[in-house]
Symmetry: C2
Subunit: 433 residues, 2 copies
């Protein structure tokens, strides 16, 4: 086999598809340990909510599609148990061995159970695979639980809380740290808390769950538990084969997504990527990043020379219809990364008052020494995605706040305000610098 | 007087307010020839439509506000008829003379009547001042015209067509050139035409109107005419005083918004600005630009040293609820500017299908030699403003299409697709390059 890909979701399939586009004759096989491939994990909370009626809707492509349309062999239920790089072989659970010339490791991540006792009971769920989501939905339908506990206030945690609440459950979210959405930013966490409380969901920060009882956890009564406390990269097989991991525990690669083993690439939730703002490796497992670095890994595995510049840490989540979007670093995070940051947070209308604008909150963070933008957040129900993307683009371009302040943003009353909230925030930040 | 500002709308008031923030003791006087100041001209079509009920809603600040809150003297009905720079004086129509140390020329622009005969009849309107819009609305209410002709398919033309159609009129838009929205881009014009026709408005390109008859023009029957065929910068007084104008006919300035006369600045619809993509002066009169370069002119007039980097030519307009947004150059325009451009246009969903995404069209244009992005357009009813702003930010940062393709854009099902349409367009363009 010329190219073997371990993992058949975002990164693995992106790598395989890209390699095929570059080389029509390459032998490509994708090995997926699970029963399905190419599913949109980000859609799982909406399946639990009921908005997505059929789990099939979350499957983008089938193995048959890849076989027929792309001439890529995709095997499900094919668990790799070892990699022998000296022999250029992967070993399957069945004992079968497959030879590779190039290998892409896209083994993903698994929910981190944090060593919580009782995490394997039937009323405890994660939201990682289609099967997880189907089982949770079935449990809700059949057992009609009334009180839900969500452990972890990251993206999946708040989305699960939203979905469960919309199903009529009483929901409490507990979070070990003081921060929601994995961002050390007290005002953002306060905004998340406010939005959750407005919709009847309680958020308790600084609460560690050590054990889940049948009807409670951390003293909170609950009939169903969603465990969404972060991910652990699946690196064991790679590490045993001599693939180096970074400080985060995920696989370290160069900017071509190649590991320390020549011809072995890693991409997606099992791998680190470069953080463009710091220039250092980071581990932020997200589907968009997996797709992008999967493509680069696949291109290089097929003989191209492409590089993945990295990420800036952009994320967005909807909580009861309001968007919470972040990119780069908060003030506190930027300080921890060694910057001398200054932040400005403003509230402004998204459109002229006569055109039904709503209020949005924008925060920008810049480094005092270099005046470079290092982060930002946008909270609002209107245009938050577009605005965070503008900040993300500026971060990627290493723009200063002075250049950012003069951005030529589109204005017309149905779409924005004469002074876009982004520019008002930039003006404020320049005053404060 | 220390600082005199000629013009009391976007650029003039931005300059005055900024100067005041920098220097609390400066004498500042703003001279506005019209009866009102600080009105949102971009809102006029929505007043004609009826969505904005009261013209007062379009007035942001009154002279009293500036006097009381900002200690800025604003005089309405104060028409400047001459500037004597050797004496550092402006001369008012009344004969009064005002001394200045620094002068900001923000005289704006006027609708270009294109020498059309009959343009001063009572059924012919422009949409430039509050008074224009109030007279047009009164005419519609009282005379109940049934057939409207709009001359010019720029932003104001299509907005006026939308507003008149929503008032039940039969509307035809005629345009001298082959292009709508001032953009040489046949596919964009086709999309505008399609959207107009879907809502019962006819667009005829390549039609020059030389005379307006009482009941027709260019052979098209009409009871009311809106003349929206572009602007002429108001530069006469400045030019007579020795202020240089550029090739566009608007006032030329340096990047501090200073004219060739020391201490005399120009900003807004009377002035050129730098086009960041070409590095050459351009004339694109828009309120957002006026605000920004007004601020820079005011800062420099108050003793700071600030520069205005320029614009990238971003614009957006809503036509019957759909957004048409452009920035930088179309393929045809980029070629005319001396680039060797390649363009890719794609259609994609704005969200996953299971989350009610709509279709959007994205075009990106890059220069083949440098791989730099030089323009783009976005058409859709969903997120178009945010997407065009991402392209605009990339243009401002002189980003290559390769960097753009790897932008770390926000993804979550309620807000976007895993592969944002922008990134799909970038992938396509890279294939075509």
């Amino acid at each position: 086999m010329a190219l073997v890909v371990i993992g058949g979701v975002a990164a693995g399939l992106s790598a395989a598809a890209r390699a095929r586009r570059i080389d029509a004759h390459l032998d490509i096989v994708v090995l997926e340990k699970g029963p399905v491939i190419s599913y949109g994990a980000c859609g799982l909370p909406y399946f639990v909510e009921g908005r997505v009626r059929d789990a099939e809707q979350l499957i983008v492509h089938t193995p048959e599609y890849f076989r027929k349309e792309r001439n890529i062999e995709v095997r499900t239920g094919a668990r790799v148990v070892a990699i022998s790089h000296p022999r250029r072989e992967v070993v399957l659970e069945s004992g079968e061995r497959l030879r590779y010339e190039h290998l892409v490791i896209a083994t993903g991540a698994r929910p981190d159970a944090l060593g919580i006792a009782g995490a394997r009971q039937p009323h405890v769920f994660t939201l990682h695979t289609l099967d997880d989501a189907e089982r949770l939905r079935q449990f809700i339908r059949e057992k009609q639980p009334r009180r839900a506990l969500v452990i972890g206030a990251g993206y999946i945690g708040v989305e699960a809380a939203d979905a469960l609440r919309r199903n009529g459950l009483r929901v409490t979210v507990v979070e070990r740290s003081q921060d929601a959405l994995l961002r050390h930013d007290p005002l953002l966490t306060a905004a998340v808390r406010h939005q959750l409380e407005e919709h009847g969901v309680e958020l308790r920060c600084g609460v560690s769950v050590t054990a889940i009882e049948p009807e409670s956890a951390a003293g909170i009564p609950c009939d169903v538990v969603v465990l969404s406390a972060g991910f652990k990269p699946n690196v064991e097989i790679a590490a045993e084969a001599g693939v180096e991991t970074g400080r985060s525990g995920a696989i370290r690669t160069d900017d071509r997504m190649e590991t320390n083993l020549r011809g072995v690439y890693a991409a997606g939730d099992c791998a680190e990527v470069n953080h463009i703002v710091t220039g250092r490796p980071t581990y932020i497992p997200l589907g968009t990043t997996a797709n992008k670095c999967g493509r680069v890994a696949g291109a290089n595995a097929a003989g191209r020379r492409e590089r993945f510049a990295g990420i800036v840490g952009t994320g967005i989540v909807g909580i009861f219809g309001k968007a919470f979007a972040t990119t780069g670093f908060s003030l506190e995070q930027a300080r921890a990364e060694g910057f001398s940051p200054v932040a400005a947070r403003i509230e402004a209308h998204t459109r002229p008052k006569y055109y039904q604008g709503t209020m949005t909150t924008v925060e920008l963070v810049a480094d005092r020494a270099t005046r470079r933008l290092v982060g930002g957040s946008v909270v609002g129900d209107d245009g938050a995605a577009g605005r965070i993307n503008v900040i993300a683009t500026a971060l990627q371009a290493r723009m200063t706040i002075d250049d950012f302040e003069q951005l030529d943003l589109a204005y017309s009353p149905p779409f924005s305000a004469t002074w876009d909230p982004l520019l008002i925030a930039a003006q404020q930040l320049i005053k404060d610098l």
